[in-house]
């Protein structure tokens, strides 16, 4: 406590000092935003400039962020997977007793998946994209935990099956970048046909990178949650009932 007060005070004053050097709110005059808002639509044919920025203009940064996600999931897996194996037999999955609740839940799984896919697919045209759609789709997939018994969850329970898919998402991003390198241009150069502005067939490699990150995010989130939730899943054949 005695360190915290003065520490926060010092941090606060340093922050205030730093902020005083920024242009006032709404008085933005950095060139990049204005330049991108002018050039991304004509040059990349994506109407959502944010996605054009994420997957093209600063595509290398996004690759780094994808690997943060990857590293975090690897860390969680390393920390939790071993322990969950021995604890599995202890818990029972409870079936939802109410059929109406199950029905509503199943509708929510379908709806969540649909909206998630829509967010992914139209990410570079309207607000959305692989990141948001991925989290939502993963949440919908995990709702199966709630509405179904563990049997329904079985395809996802075997989390090892998701590992290669997760790697495909993250690796696919790098492969698209390397493909540009192999064709003699810079890493992650947009070398696919740009298509018609405002349609699903626009953006060239932006669309591919969007889908790659959608797969990576969905798998990362499902893996992350599955590792946490696995204690609640009873294996179909109890391995050791002694523990």
């Amino acid at each position: 406590m005695m360190v915290l007060g003065p520490g926060l005070l010092g941090l606060g004053s340093l922050f205030a000092w730093a902020m005083a050097g920024l242009p006032a709110f709404g008085d933005y005059h950095g060139p990049y935003g204005f330049v991108l808002n002018r050039v991304v639509v004509p040059l990349r044919h994506t109407t959502n400039v944010v996605m054009g920025t994420t997957f093209d203009v600063r595509g290398v940064d996004t690759m780094g962020e994808e690997f943060i996600l990857y590293a975090a999931v690897v860390g969680v897996t390393l920390l939790l997977r071993d322990e969950t194996r021995s604890k599995q037999a202890e818990r029972r999955t409870r079936r939802l007793p109410n059929d109406t609740a199950r029905l509503v839940g199943i509708a929510m799984v379908g709806g969540g998946l649909l909206v998630g896919l829509w967010l992914m697919a139209f990410g570079y045209i309207t607000p959305g994209g692989g990141f948001q759609g991925g989290v939502l789709a993963a949440g919908a997939i995990l709702l199966l935990y709630v509405v179904g018994s563990h049997r329904d969850y079985r395809p996802f329970r075997d989390v090892h099956a998701l590992d290669p898919l997760e790697s495909l998402g993250s690796g696919g991003y790098v492969i698209v970048g390397l493909a540009a390198l192999a064709s003699g241009t810079a890493f992650l150069t947009n070398l696919f046909g740009l298509g018609t502005t405002g349609t699903l067939l626009s953006g060239g490699s932006i669309a591919i990178l969007n889908w790659a990150s959608a797969i990576a995010v969905t798998c990362a989130m499902v893996l992350l949650f599955a590792e946490f939730l696995e204690t609640y899943v009873v294996p179909l054949e109890p391995e050791d009932s002694g523990s």
Partner: protein
């Protein structure tokens, strides 16, 4: 001249740090960390805001309309998603600490050695 949005970002940051420092529960601590991180979203989006600007999505908006900065939005977007993975990793570490020491109190964990 208005610096109020930046002050809000700084306030959230300090509140989050205070929460982390005084936390008695590792799960509480992890959530406080996401609060601290949320100050970065507020700061980024405030810096990139343009007065009377529209969202940088040019579907139905004429090209050349004054729009807010897309770069900070792209940064915020990935920042938000990555924060889930980060809190997941921190909570996994918290669970590991709980398994080894039997407590989620950061002060209690310090007593356990080896």
């Amino acid at each position: 001249m208005s610096y109020l949005p930046y002050a809000v970002a700084g306030w959230i940051f300090l509140v989050g740090i205070a929460g982390i420092a005084t936390s008695k529960n590792l799960i509480h601590l992890a959530v406080c960390l996401t609060v601290t991180q949320s100050s970065s979203y507020v700061l980024l989006l405030s810096v990139g805001y343009v007065k009377h600007g529209v969202a940088p999505i040019f579907l139905g908006t004429k090209l050349g309309t004054t729009a807010v900065d897309p770069v900070v939005q792209a940064l915020t977007l990935t920042d938000v998603v990555v924060s889930v993975a980060v809190i997941g990793l921190i909570l996994a570490l918290a669970l590991d600490a709980h398994r080894l020491s039997g407590t989620v109190d950061p002060d209690g964990i310090a007593d356990v050695s080896g």
